[in-house]
Assembly symmetry: C2
Homo-oligomer: 270 residues x 2
């Protein structure tokens, strides 16, 4: 089982909380790391976020998220790159392990063009992330999100893209919800050695309640989080493990109770 010391709270799991509330919650429950979302950072202000995180002594595992590269016009793509630069700034100021990339879907664009726009977008971003010493974490999403959220859908594809860059500049984020089904998951996690910038857990509920909001607490679904965590460790990843759960029932619950449950499930099933 994974030790609580490795748990990082992805704040979307307790979506009703602001950054300050989530930080306080972590402190109350003895959680040492946190991952912040940009719309929450925007609400609180980046300077304020940097201060509350630092004052609490928390480590920031990731900023969620950059990406969204495919767009119909050059103007939209340029505007999006500018926004990604701001995401890099936020990740730099928070000393995050990585800026997570959800690269964008193909709807309205076409799959081949969307993939090219993603590669181009990363290429435009790297000189700036290098300058700001921010690592880009490419997160392959489950293939069911290829149309609307991410044409990047497998670890293999993420590694192909990352390998154009230094292993300290561009890597991959492994989220068990997105990768558990892959028949090549063992070999691909092994191949990711040296480029694993983050590891996320949750569970796949049966039946799946919703395409976006269907995640559950570890232990409530079919994902063998422990096995996948061990594969990541075998590939050299010993860093924090984010718990990232989009689930309306959890969001509607008392957030402190959710945190306590997250810790229990983390120690038992991860």
């Amino acid at each position: 089982m994974a030790e609580k010391a490795r748990l990082s709270l992805n704040q979307i799991t307790v979506n009703r909380w602001s950054v300050a509330e989530a930080v306080d919650g972590c402190v109350r429950q003895g959680i040492r790391s946190i991952a912040l979302w940009r719309h929450k950072i925007a609400e609180a202000g980046i300077a304020n976020c940097v201060r509350v995180v630092r004052d609490a002594g928390l480590h920031v595992t990731s900023v969620c998220r950059g990406g969204g590269f495919p767009a119909r016009t050059a103007g939209e793509r340029k505007k999006n790159i500018e926004d990604n630069f701001r995401a890099v700034d936020e990740a730099a100021e928070l000393h995050a392990d990585a800026l997570v990339m959800v690269v964008g879907g193909c709807a309205g664009i076409g799959l081949d063009d969307a993939r090219m726009m993603v590669a181009d977008g990363i290429a435009e971003l790297v000189p700036y992330t290098r300058e700001r010493r921010v690592r880009i974490g490419l997160e392959p999403l489950h293939p069911m999100y290829a149309a609307e959220r991410s044409v990047l859908v497998t670890i293999g594809q993420a590694l192909d893209m990352a390998q154009a860059y230094d292993a300290r500049e561009v890597g991959v984020i492994l989220d068990t919800f997105h990768i558990w089904w892959d028949p090549r998951v063992e070999e691909l996690i092994a191949q990711a050695a040296g480029r694993i910038y983050g590891f996320h857990v949750s569970d796949w509920l049966v039946p799946l309640p919703d395409v976006l909001m269907g995640r559950g607490l570890m232990g409530d679904g079919v994902i063998d989080n422990m096995k996948l965590r061990r594969l990541a460790e075998k590939a050299g990843y010993g860093g924090p493990i984010e718990v990232e759960i989009f689930n309306q029932a959890l969001w509607d619950s008392d957030a402190d109770a959710v945190l306590a449950q997250v810790i229990e499930r983390f120690e038992k099933f991860v």
Copy 2:
């Protein structure tokens, strides 16, 4: 564009129709091939199905479906194999191009065990399919079905499994809804040369209305059916193309009107 002569109606697209009604519909609309579902065959009786299909001069592209191998007990697995033998009989009597396999999910079983049960199930089936001269078409389903319907989720995985057998005994069914997202789809379809037993089209709607019932008519979503059809042809597949659409709105519509629309979209987008 694909010629109408290649269109095969998968009867689930006009789910309100019986086998006889679907056969009549094909005749009225000049469709030469059909794919039948086992629950519909059971309603009509296999002898009756064989007769109406033969009298109409239709070719049967597939019987849907065998599979469902993972189960908790040896007794359930044995009972399921027996049922698969009956599916083989039906495919033999209808002279279908293939018996389509939807192999079963991992919920309640575990992913590794489920995969083993699938391999074992196919191995148990092959001597009988050989005897009855029925080809097993392994259909990789979209990874979002791994828990509940099919642990077989990529063309590569299906080919790995098929390659234990003769290329005339076990092959793959390519359904664009299930494979379009795969970054390796071009190389994998090329690798499938000689083992492509069927090709299915539909579309992926945005937003996806439902995990099971979210398919649309070709042209209404993000799938480049024409590109994928050409890749299959490049790999040597020149056989019929099934239109297989699970969509409640279509099911609720006048079936003859749906067929006319299917033909139009087939000629335009496939």
